[in-house]
Assembly symmetry: C2
Amino acid sequence: MTKKNQEGITAKKNENFSEWFTQIIQKCELADLRYNVKGFLVFQPWSVLAMEKMYKHFEEVLQKKSHKPYWFPTVIPKSNLQKEASHIKGFTPEVFWVTHGGTKKLEEPLALRPTSETAFYQMFNLWIRSYKDLPFKTYQRAQVFRHETKATRPFLRSREFHWIETHCAHATKEDAMKQVQEDMQTTEEVLHDIFGLPFMFFERPSWDKFAGAHRTFASDVLNPDGKVIQQPSTHIISPSFSKAFNITYKDKNQEEKPCYTTCYGPSISRIFASIIITHGDDKGLKFPWEIAPLQVIIIPIDKKVNKKAETLKKEIEKSYSVEIDYSDKRPGEKFNYWEMKGVPIRIDLGLKDLEKKQITIFRRDLNKKIVIPEKDILKTIEKISKEFTKNLIKEADKIFKGKIKDAKNINEVKKIIKDGAIARCNFCSVEKNGEKCAEEIIKEISAEVRGTRLDENQKPSGKCVICGKKAKEIVYVARSY
Amino acid sequence: MTKKNQEGITAKKNENFSEWFTQIIQKCELADLRYNVKGFLVFQPWSVLAMEKMYKHFEEVLQKKSHKPYWFPTVIPKSNLQKEASHIKGFTPEVFWVTHGGTKKLEEPLALRPTSETAFYQMFNLWIRSYKDLPFKTYQRAQVFRHETKATRPFLRSREFHWIETHCAHATKEDAMKQVQEDMQTTEEVLHDIFGLPFMFFERPSWDKFAGAHRTFASDVLNPDGKVIQQPSTHIISPSFSKAFNITYKDKNQEEKPCYTTCYGPSISRIFASIIITHGDDKGLKFPWEIAPLQVIIIPIDKKVNKKAETLKKEIEKSYSVEIDYSDKRPGEKFNYWEMKGVPIRIDLGLKDLEKKQITIFRRDLNKKIVIPEKDILKTIEKISKEFTKNLIKEADKIFKGKIKDAKNINEVKKIIKDGAIARCNFCSVEKNGEKCAEEIIKEISAEVRGTRLDENQKPSGKCVICGKKAKEIVYVARSY
């Protein structure tokens, strides 16, 4: 631990979000930005331990839903990428190219995968034969590489990031749409219920689709600065794509039919950013229970309690991760340090408490100290473990819900956006002919039409807030990263 | 499941090892070799599930020994690689180079990491300040890339492989040597005790060190064809290497001292190959209990037992991974299929058994059927789970021990090697001046001096089997991949 970490977070999250985020990354030792390749960073133990748990939760849910794990090569031949026109067009400016092996030029340049449709699809072509093979549901845990032209930002937009990509093939368009629904449900189960992140799923306007997608659905999480961050997206891939790779199956009548493909891409390192941002406060990190790199920290306030600390540790570590802080810092410094690091439960072990056969516990969910009988320690930790993430969710949901506001005209949209919220309004169209109005919003308010909701109950009953034509859609407008 | 898999393994492991290995990979669906980049392969679910468990076991042991996890960038700038002369010399012919981002040439070529000393060391330079920071013990789970000039072979030698690399910095040479001992112990705990692999650790001769190492220690596992496969190696890195990156610390007297660095590199995909090879038999795979992709398979022999199968599954899945095979194959086909796939326990659920309130279990460790009272099912699975890997280890250890034989002269070495074993013999020197004799062995017998053992009890008391000079060492000679 160096000096700078002992200092604690000095920026306020709601006043200077950007500086707060920078300090969190540096002082909590989540990532080191001094690696000497632009846009690449070194993830440090405190974030890696959490992100490994995030992978575990995601993979468990995917496997339960019959996705099978694969490890594909990191490199994809140029000719694969070129097979589908809109895909290569979308990704060309962003591809890192491997051109040499040793001192020799390769016969064909290899892309560091920016996404892996063109790797999976050539194998789907070999693997899928019959309707009995469908749905064919895969996933891989992998890094992807994008030579971003936009400014990079640690965890949020890096040139290498850690994600999961699922790729599926289906017999019908309807099955593909069912997969999209399942992916949205998976996002709810993992992002919301385990990681505590509120979000909204939108169908993106036609001009904002994934390169190669027929339809794109993406989740947006809200930042305290009022900007949204795109989190997992799921796509119905355009039929021309599976046609380019000749992914077909024989139906029950032995007739050759084209497959409909879908993909889903939760970025673990990016979701980690949203977790930091959503739950963190002016003291530092707050980890949801299930992904905390460390769940319990014991601070012996007096050397005489060290033996007791060890006994406690042995008891607790049967069920939870736990450590003792024996460093030579003062107790107050230790308290601040572990609050900053976001450890859910801190046990302050003092001599006086022990004499009274009681223990003081600090809960990071409520930022509250409680004193309990010594014998209740395990019971209490178990109780807190069950409440912890729920408390984080409750808090986050409350803030999120208050940030979605209806706007009747462009001035109201403007005001809502300026106040750091998301505007819901009437809009002419999310097809090609609506793009002009969307561009107007970008120009006027630096905000974007994020899309429509599949579960929107209301029908639009007025005019587009921009052009005044009859509104066909209710859309959501927000600033984004 | 395609036709080819229903056929079963037709090659005999001890008669035609190479064909047996090829069939295992294809028919058990471990990897698909048809990906269109030479030397790269697609790992399929059956191997990925096992290898993920292998990662888990390795990482648990490393973390218990205070190694902290990192995720470093996949790319390393050329200038980093060039900082240490012998390192770049050793790896230059094998590096894949990224030269372009989008359509633009990068300012500096980036290597796909062939190994990550030159990435970690530049950060060690920033992170390590004081003797209090030492030992500094890290690891990462990652893929590495080597443009192999030798022929590639699935799992054993690919151009991209999945491994763990640990990198550590120490205050003294003695601490570095202690780390090497710990790494060898880790290999024993994981490779032998969990994966069931017998091996020997050698200090490699000076001419066979890792590029940049002062001393190299590596484990060798024996194949049934008599060739050894190098498995995890651990290295004391040459002082010039840490000097090139200026990795120093201040000792208790505030004096600046150089760090001694070590690294350890278990390749998960390569170790997986040794697991297949060591435990597999003419029927197919045999997975050690802890890494089996599936631990229990239930075969309902009659539709009338389906409900019972579901009840059993629900009971068993509380503690173990279990599936029911409802496919439309005949029971006999199913039996063969799951034996080939190496599932430890198969439950054959028949109507007659159920009437007698008994269950038939097939154990893949002993290739034996047992009949047990229905009520004992969980107790029996638990018992088998504890014996399973032990039985595999016993069998493997027995074979391994019989394969190490003493040779008094070159003819005996030749005979031992020809018989598919490892020869132990007197040798002049493992320093530079012994290399000529080692080359003679390569030329004469196509075998290699694998090195000396740290725990060798005997002193050499004769002459080098090649040059006849006084022997300074007892070495082991074997053919290798």
